[in-house]
Symmetry: C2
Subunit: 207 residues, 2 copies
């Protein structure tokens, strides 16, 4: 009856189960027992693959990092303007959260970070990278004369990221009652439009 798999695939299964369970029950209440049950093992079986629970969380963190990097990369296409690139990054990030809703909870779980320095390091680097990508594009847009001269690229990046985070929070506590990526793109467009030199397109400035 004992289904035996290679350590490699089992590890993947465990990480995926952890992501699912962290979503449904919250990351803090992820027990080795629940993971084991979800994946069809006994509780000590988990420790064959991750000697300590911390190790499991680090694997989850690396997984999240890899997913983000992949989505960011895929979002950047030929011939996009800096502004469009920012919008694409926002959309990519929100699509990822939509597909893997455990991510924000894990990313910002103080409980997890307190017990695990590795996680904090990994996630801090990730958020910094995301920030820099957006600030970079804001900077280019400003140089191209698209953004107002009183827009600081770092501030602009912060405002866009805050928008994403805030929207995810609202989405969560609202019971996921709206289209996260669509609403995010809509708000990002507005936010960026406010910072543009001449409100191009639909958003007129008429009295």
């Amino acid at each position: 009856m004992r289904t035996r798999k290679s350590a490699e695939t089992r590890k993947q299964e465990i990480v995926e189960a952890a992501l699912r369970l962290a979503d449904s029950h919250g990351p803090e209440r992820l027990t080795t027992d629940s993971v084991a049950e979800a994946v069809g093992l006994t509780q000590p079986g988990i420790f064959r693959h991750f000697p300590r629970k911390q190790d499991l969380w680090e694997a989850v963190a690396r997984r999240i990092g890899a997913m983000m990097e992949a989505r960011w990369k895929a979002a950047q296409r030929e011939g996009m303007s800096p502004i469009e690139e920012i919008e694409a990054l926002v959309e990519a990030q929100l699509r990822l959260v939509h597909a893997t809703p455990a991510i924000p909870a894990i990313l910002f779980s103080r409980e997890l970070h307190a017990r695990n320095d590795g996680l904090r390091t990994i996630f801090h680097a990730l958020l910094t990278r995301f920030h820099q990508m957006i600030a970079d594009r804001a900077s280019r847009a400003k140089e191209a004369g698209v953004l107002r001269t009183d827009v600081d690229p770092q501030d602009a990046a912060f405002l866009v990221i805050a928008l994403v985070q805030g929207l995810v929070v609202r989405w969560s506590i609202s019971g996921r009652s709206f289209d996260l990526p669509a609403e995010g793109v809509r708000l990002a467009q507005r936010q960026l439009q406010f910072m543009m030199l001449r409100p191009g397109g639909e958003g007129h400035d008429a009295i």
Copy 2:
């Protein structure tokens, strides 16, 4: 040697200790034992005042609610413009977080909310109220011709609140390395300026 106090003052002491400990060690790791030690009682002594730990959390939540309402009220003064009122609300909120840094962690702790419906209800109402206060002032500013016509007051309120939340997150993970209220006011002013019809004051729009 046993210092005996009235239940009323003891309850207050316990709630205050809980807020301090929730800050230093995270809300999820607040144990009745640590609270007892902080307040100078034995662990079962806590249960004399709060029969269940949940009850303690609800008292903490009510305390937070009361603090917020008080600060919001105090922030509104005679003769302020709607824009100034929004800035004052942002500053008040960030001052409160600065003084009681456990608040955001408690407010957004999924772990706590999962185990306690009461908390979720209290906090949801609180956040909704904050949002409505800002949206209301944005609406008035728009009617007064201060904000652009393409600014939706609800969106504006969301963007301001997201800014506050995002800044608190950055403040936390940066190890509280900057002046939270000051930076918040600075960013809120920029954000509001972007949404203003004519960029008044210093922020010129020149090419």
